[in-house]
Structure formats: C-alpha cells, structure tokens
Amino acid sequence: MAYRGSVSGSLVRMSSYFLEAFGGQTTICDVYLPRYAPYTTKPAYAPAVAQISLSHCTDQQVGCSAEIHDFGWYDSDGEPWERGGYGENSVYMMTMFRVSFSLMNLPGEGLDYSWSAALANVFQFAPDAAIDPSAP
C-alpha cells in the first residue's frame, strides 16, 4: 500500500469519464482544467485530484492497464510544466491544468474480442481547500 495524497475542503465539481478500448487499441482522455478555481470572484488556484481505475478486462491472458499518462501544472512563477504519469493511478495537485488518462488493451488471442474499460474521475475543489499533494 502507498499513500497517494489528500484534500480537505469543499468540492466544487466532479467529472467522470468512461474509457474503453478493444484488442490492440489505446484510448486517451486529455482533460483540460481552468487555470483558476471555478465559481470564484477573484482568480485563485485550487486543488484538483485525478484518478483512474480499470473496471473491465475481458482477456486477462494478454492484459490491459489504466493509468495517468501525463499531466501538466503551473509552477510558482506561473510557468507551465508537464511530466509523464509513470504508471500512476492518481494525482493530487494545486495548479494542475491538464491530466491525461490512458487505457491500453493489448491484442487478444483466442477470444472473439478483447475489451477493457476504465473509469476516470476529476475532482475540483474550492481555493481554500487544503491539499497534501502527490506530485510533482
């Protein structure tokens, strides 16, 4: 087990995405977040959390994986940075502007089809929420 991060505060918006992939296919979902927290009168950064979980894999012999492919954030000078997800399944960040979820389904052998699916979630919090970030 490994600790991944935490946020305490008000949730402002939660979005969910269903990803699916067939034999040999990859599916990516790039989610772009607003630079500042939604529904605030003054521009302010706010924590965001992205998570992905594999929900289906019909051909366990060949395998499939769901992960954070890469993500981007602003540093303290407002400069954008990006890095690979390195197989992570969640990211907790203060200034995230993009997260990319990936689902990879390897070619099936012997089955009519090889299909996998994943659920990805993005949580946006209020600016006064306290975050213990997981990255960068």
């Binding site: 067939f22 040999g24 990859t26 500042y36 009519d112």
Partner: protein, 119 residues
C-alpha cells in the same frame, strides 16, 4: 452561466491504420468550463505523437480523423472506411447474447417436469 448547466467541451480524434482502417488509438479531449480547448490541428498532432509513443514496436502508416463525440458509441468497435474517410461502427458481439442455445438434457428434463417445454 449557472453552476448546474456548465458543460465541458469535447473533441475526439481517432488514429487509424491507413491501409486497413483499423482504429489504433482514440484520443478524447475534454475542456472543463473555464478551460481552453486546443485547436484541431494541435489535437491531431498530440494524438499522433501519443499513439506512436505507445506503439513504438509497430511500423504502421498512421492517419488521424476528427469525429463527432457522439460517433464513438460505448460497446461498439470502430474502424475507418479508408476510401470514404468516414468512421464505421458496429456493436461488439457479447458473449452473453446471440442465438438462444440448445438446452442441455438436464435443462430439457427440468423444463418438461415444469411443463414449460417449447419444443
């Protein structure tokens, strides 16, 4: 815009084998309210870059096609008709569906006992 009807923008770009039309990669782009969505050429460029990175071992001529978000239906397999350059979708054949299977002898005896035989 109220909080309730704030909708995300969505774009979809598929990357396919130029010869067979097989869809190798589906690239979805979502811009949450307040975020900017990249231009279509930037989306296609990123889709192709990511697709090539994820399948380095393959030497396939890959092409991109922008499709409407509604074109990618759940539980459907997709390919591109390379002559018309359009997306073709067909439902996946579920292992639980299809023609009704012939009852086993035990099931047949049970159905006869219950008086529900249809044959």
């Amino acid at each position: 815009m109220s909080q309730d009807n704030a909708k995300a923008l969505l774009r979809v770009c598929v990357v396919y084998d130029a010869e067979s039309g097989e869809v190798k990669h589906i690239h979805n782009v979502v811009a949450l309210p307040g975020a900017d969505i990249p231009a279509e050429d930037r989306i296609a460029e990123r889709a192709l870059t990511v697709a090539k990175r994820l399948r380095e071992h393959e030497s396939v001529d890959l092409r991109t096609l922008h499709v409407s978000p509604g074109a990618i239906k759940p539980l459907h397999k997709h390919r591109v008709d390379v002559t018309s350059g359009t997306l073709v979708s067909e439902p996946i054949r579920s292992q639980r569906s299809g023609a009704p299977k012939k009852p086993t002898p035990a099931e047949g005896r049970l159905a006869k006992k219950r008086g529900t035989t249809t044959q």
